[in-house]
Symmetry: C2
Subunit: 141 residues, 2 copies
């Protein structure tokens, strides 16, 4: 999504495309990392001509989550990260660096997985609406 689309997208969702919101969204859409609010605040503060407050960063992120441009991810204790990748996907945490890498879902397995968990845990009837896998490990080679 480029700047033009972003502006349009905001208007379509009845969101004022303010410089703060646009810069935050643009920053997220141009990174594959999964930054925290603080990291976003630091980066966006440098780009904007006017000062920005951390409250605005949190407000904007909440709004962007609500309209569905971004997602929140919880992979670590006491830290929320934000993700431009809004498709269903999973995360690999590099235990050496802390880096979080997107992992594509495997639909065939996905169906099997949910089915089998339903069978395997018969005591309570779950209706699973979604699930998220966090992989932990390291990169090799």
């Amino acid at each position: 999504m480029n700047n033009f689309d972003l502006n349009k997208y905001f208007l379509e969702h009845n969101l004022k495309p303010t410089p703060q919101r646009l810069t935050i969204a643009e920053y997220l859409l141009n990174t594959t990392s999964h930054p925290t609010a603080e990291e976003i605040y630091q980066a966006v503060a440098k780009k904007l001509p006017m000062p920005i407050s951390l409250a605005t960063v949190y407000n904007s992120l909440d709004i962007l989550v609500k309209v569905g441009i971004i997602k929140e991810v919880f992979t670590e204790p006491n830290k929320v990260r934000y993700d431009k990748n809004i498709t269903n996907h999973h995360h690999f945490v590099n235990m050496q660096t802390g880096e979080i890498i997107d992992v594509e879902p495997y639909e065939l397995l996905s169906e099997q997985l949910v089915e089998n968990y339903l069978l395997k845990n018969p005591k309570q009837k779950f209706k699973i609406s979604n699930y998220h896998i966090t992989f932990y490990g390291e990169l090799v080679e």
Copy 2:
């Protein structure tokens, strides 16, 4: 694990079986819920004859995690929960109540899952040492 075992277990791991630690461990071992430090603090304070400090709860929980009597679970933003179930397992979050229920792993699928994720994401070579699934949904019937 009963009280006697617990005492023995502590000694075997060079941990003084203090009333605070024993009461915290005992509380966790007798619940299937996944309580927070604050919930544990409240419960344990009632049981102990002497007062206990929240710092001791956090200290003791860290130690119990380190020796492997309990595990930490992260299913929600900005909240760590503690789990007596130290086997590899997953969690189902009841989105209506917030309740967290253990979900048994399905080993056959598990192997397939890891294998396939390795195949499906060939750009970077992951060495997956473990993974955790959080299911979201509701209970039916």
